[in-house]
Subunit: 460 residues, 2 copies
Amino acid sequence: MNSIDTVLNTIDSNLDASLGRLFNLLKIESISTDPAYKDSCKQAGQSLVDMLNELGFDASLRETPGHPMVVAHHDGQQGAPHVLFYGHYDVQPIDPIELWDTAPFEPTVKEVNGAKRIYARGSSDDKGQLMTFVEACRGWKDATGALPCKVTILFEGEEESGSPSLEPFLESAADELKCDIALVCDTSMWDANTPAITTALRGMSSDEVTIHAASRDLHSGYYGGAAQNPIHVLSKILAEMHDESGAVTLEGFYDGVDETPDNIKQMWEGLGFSAQDFMGEVGLSMPSGEANRSVLEQTWARPTAEVNGISGGYTGEGFKTVIAAQASAKVSFRLVGKQDPHKVAAAFRKHIEDRLPEDCRATFKEHGRNPATQLDYNMPELKKAAKALSEEWGKDTAIIAGGGSIPIVGNFRAQLGMESLLIGYALSDDAIHSPNEKYEVKSYHKGTRSWARVLAALAE
Amino acid sequence: MNSIDTVLNTIDSNLDASLGRLFNLLKIESISTDPAYKDSCKQAGQSLVDMLNELGFDASLRETPGHPMVVAHHDGQQGAPHVLFYGHYDVQPIDPIELWDTAPFEPTVKEVNGAKRIYARGSSDDKGQLMTFVEACRGWKDATGALPCKVTILFEGEEESGSPSLEPFLESAADELKCDIALVCDTSMWDANTPAITTALRGMSSDEVTIHAASRDLHSGYYGGAAQNPIHVLSKILAEMHDESGAVTLEGFYDGVDETPDNIKQMWEGLGFSAQDFMGEVGLSMPSGEANRSVLEQTWARPTAEVNGISGGYTGEGFKTVIAAQASAKVSFRLVGKQDPHKVAAAFRKHIEDRLPEDCRATFKEHGRNPATQLDYNMPELKKAAKALSEEWGKDTAIIAGGGSIPIVGNFRAQLGMESLLIGYALSDDAIHSPNEKYEVKSYHKGTRSWARVLAALAE
C-alpha cells in the first residue's frame, strides 16, 4: 500500500472523531460583525491554534485591531512546494433566527434523501471547509508522521465583516506568509458529484456618483421646463453606458480583456449548464447583456457595468412635484483579465464629465477597486490538483470561473506575489449566509480525502 | 363724487377697524391637516358666516365630511353679472415653530424698510387675501348700502389639505354656486407695485411607473452580464422622453398646444423679468429645457415632462452589488392649452411599453389628471378687471400665467362651466407655508380698494 492509500484509510477510519472536532468548532459563536461576539471569535481562533499545535504545527494567535489571525507552520518533504492554506473561522450573523429549524450553534446531523447533512451556522462557510484541510493534514500525520508539502496556514476571523485587518496583516507578515502557492477553501463544487477548481474571478471597480443641479429642490410648477433636472441628466448618462449590442461604451473599457481560449469554452459547454434553468430560477426567460455570448461567458469571462442603486427626488408614498437638486447612482463594474480598475474608474468619471450639461456637476464616492484574477490555464499546480480531485471524485474536474470577487485572492497576488488555487466542496444549496446552513457529510469526508490527495500531488 | 370714490374713501377711513377684523380671524388656529384643530377650523368658518351675515349676506356654514364650507349670497344691481368669490380660511401647519420670530397665531405688525407688515400664519395665504374681498363688500355697503354685482361667496376649509370635500360639494351645490364668473384671491402680484391677473395655469398628468425584471434581487457577481437590470431599462426609457432640443418625444404630446399670441409674448417681454436672476436664485446660470423659448414661455406656456423621483436597488449607506428586481419613477407632465391629460397618460404608457425589452414588464400607479386652464385673452371681464387694477395701482396690469396648478380653477370650469379671474395681492417674499409668513398692510389696503374697483368695473 502506498502512502496516499494509508492516509485515505486513516481518514476514513477517523471520520467520527473528525466530525466531533468540527462540531466543537461549530459550537463557538464566532460572529465577527457583532462586537458582542468578540470573545467568541477569539475562542474560535484559539481552539484552532490548540488543534494545530497538537498536530505538530507551530501555531499561534496573532492579534489585530479586530479579531485575531491564526498562523501556523509545518515542515514538509525536501523539494516539495511550500503551500499557504487559507480559510476563515468567523461566521455570518444568524438572523432571522426564527427561520432556523435547529439551533444555529448546536450542530445537528440529519439525513435528507439518504445523505447526511450537518446543520449549523458556519458548517459550510467556512468552518466545515477549513477543517477538511486540517483533517487532511491530520490524516497524513497519523498515517505517516509527516506532511508531503511544507504547509503554512492562515485563518482569518473577519472575512464576513469586510476583512479590515487583512491587508495590513499581510503587509506586516509578508515574509512569513509568502509561499509558492495558496490553497483557498471557500468555494463550491460544480455539482454534487463534480469537483471544481475556480481559476478566474471577476474584479470590481465601484463608485457612487451624484449629479447636482439647482441649489435646492424646486417646485416643478414654477421651474419645470426651465431648470435642469438631475434625474434626467443621470438617466441619460446611465443609458449611454451600454450600446445596442449590450457592450459597455466607456473609453478603453475592454483594454486587457482577452477572449476565453476555445478549449476552455468547449469545457464549459460540456458542463451541462442550462441557461434556461439558471435564468428561469429567478423569473427570467433568457439572457440579456452582451449579444452572442453564452451565459457562462457573460458571467465568468466578460466585464459588466451595472447600476446597483439609483435615487433622486421624492420616493415616498404618493406624489410630490419636485425637481430634485441632486440624483445619485451606485455603479459597479465587474472586471476580467487584465482590466485596470483605476483606469475603468477614470473612464467612468470621464463618461460622466463628458456628458454633463451646463449647470450640472458630478461628485463621486469611491467604493472599491479590485483587479480580476485569472490563473494561467497551463499552470502545473492546477493540472496536478485537478488530477488529484478527479481521482477522488471519479469525474473530470471542472475548470470554472466565478462571476463574483474573492478579495483574498487579489491580496495574495498583489501583496505576496502568489497565485491561488480555489478548491471547495460547498454545494449551491448549502444556504450559506441564510438560515439552516448545512454542509454535506460527504463534502466533509471526501473534501478531507481530496486535500490529502492534492497535497500528495503537489509534492510530486 | 361718484360712488367708487365714496367707497374708496370709506375703505381708507375704516382701515384700522378692518385690520382688527382680520386679526380676529388670524387668531383662530385653523390648521386643516391636523385633526386636533378641527374645532378651530369650524370656529374660523363660523366667524366668517357671522361677519357676512352682519354685512347683509345670507351666509351659512355647510357641513362636509371634513371641514365646513362657508356659502353666502348677496344681491346686486339689476343687469350686473353674478360673481362667485373663492378663498380659503384654513392654513398650513406652523412647524418648525422655533423659526418663528413672533407667535404664529398672534398677529403682529412690524415696520420693515418703511412698510408695515402683518406677521401671522395665514396673513397672506389666504385669510388676508380673502378678507380684502369681504372688506371691499363692506366698503360698498357702508358707502352705498348695496353691492354693484350680485355676489356669492365660497370659503373652503380644506385647501391646505388636498380639498377632499370640494368636488362632491360643488357637485351637490352646483345650482347655488354657478355664477357668470369666479373671482379667486389666492395668487400674487407681479411685483410689489404691479398688479397681475393670472390667465393660464398648467394642468398635470402624473403617474408612477415600476419596471419589473427578475423575481428577486440578484447578486451582480452571479448574474451580472446576463440578467436584465431594470434600472438600466428605466434610465433608457426616461432618457428617451426628451430629444436633443429639449422637446418631449411622446406621441401626440403637443396636440392641443397653441403658440402664445405675439402681443402676449411682447407683454411678457416688457415685464422686466430677469431669467438670470430667476435661475441664479436657485444656483443655476441659465435656462435649460426647450431651446429658443424664453423662461416665461417655458414655465407658463409650454408643457413639460419631469421625473420627480426615481428609486431602485440599494440606496443606503455604502455599497451592495445587487441587480434590483424592480425600479420606479414618479413622472409628471405639466400641461397647457387643450392638452388632454388622459391622452398624455396613455402616450406615456405607450412610450414605456414600446421600449420594454424581453423579460421586463411595467406597472403603473395613477396620481392625477388635470387639464390646463387658459382664459380667452379677449374676454371682456378680463379687460375690465385689468383696467380697474391699473387704476388702483397706477401701472399696467400684468397679464401673466402660472406654471403650477390651482385645482379649484379646473373644478369651476369642469363642474360649474365657469371661468375664473385669478387676482391676488401676495408678494413672492410673503413666506407662505413657511415660518414668519407675512402680508403687507399695503397689499391688504390696496387689495381691498382693488376689489371695490373690480366689482364696479364688472358691473359696468
